[in-house]
């Protein structure tokens, strides 16, 4: 019975792997960073399903950490990396 949860987690992992294409393609830095956000939500869902499928409730704590830290990465990106640069080099549109 627990195999069906693993199957769902597999589908979500495939969704993440597909979303990774956006890191390579995304024209602006924010497009790349959005994938980290996708990881936040999808990763939490995968961990919850694995927690049910593997019957290991410790994984819920990892899901909590995932959700908070993906948001932390996005916020650092907005505050420290993207803001205040005048559109040159690593940020914005690559040359």
């Amino acid at each position: 019975m627990s195999r069906i949860y693993i199957f769902f987690a597999l589908i979500l992992l495939a969704a993440i792997a597909a979303g990774m294409v956006r890191i390579l393609r995304g024209p602006t830095a924010a497009d790349r960073m959005m994938v980290a956000q996708l990881f936040g939500t999808c990763g939490v869902a995968i961990l919850l399903l694995l927690a049910k499928g593997l019957d290991n409730m410790v994984l819920l704590d990892i899901a909590l950490v995932f959700s908070l830290l993906a948001a932390l990465a996005t916020m650092t990106f907005v505050r420290r990396t993207w803001q205040g640069n005048d559109g040159e080099g690593a940020d914005g549109y690559p040359s």
């Binding site: 069906i4 956000q37 996005t74 559109g87």
Partner: protein, 100 residues
């Protein structure tokens, strides 16, 4: 018990297409803002449905509370970071794509 289990399974299955469409939107939509739309909304609804399904199947109230806490945190985190990214994109004067 069995009914709850099946209902939970139903909601989990219902949640998966939302995640998939979030990814599809992330890949297909033309600019930052529309991609943010896809990512924030679809993924949150998908996660909400999965968490609701798992909560129906869980056997203790503590687990339900924990799942609900996770959902709340993800909701706050993703809507705040979505707003920050959009705001920063506006400040950098990135023009939203519009239909020609």
């Amino acid at each position: 018990m069995d009914i709850l289990h099946n209902a939970g399974m139903f909601f989990i299955i219902l949640g998966l297409p939302f995640f998939l469409s979030g990814t599809v939107g992330l890949l297909r939509f033309p600019d930052i803002f529309t991609r943010l739309h896809a990512l924030t909304k679809a993924d949150n609804v998908g996660l909400g449905l999965i968490i609701f399904g798992l909560a129906l199947q869980s056997d203790s109230w503590l687990m339900v509370a924990r799942l609900f806490l996770i959902w709340l945190l993800v909701l706050i985190a993703s809507s705040a970071s979505c707003h920050l990214v959009a705001r920063c994109a506006m400040q950098k004067k990135i023009q939203p794509w519009s239909r020609p």
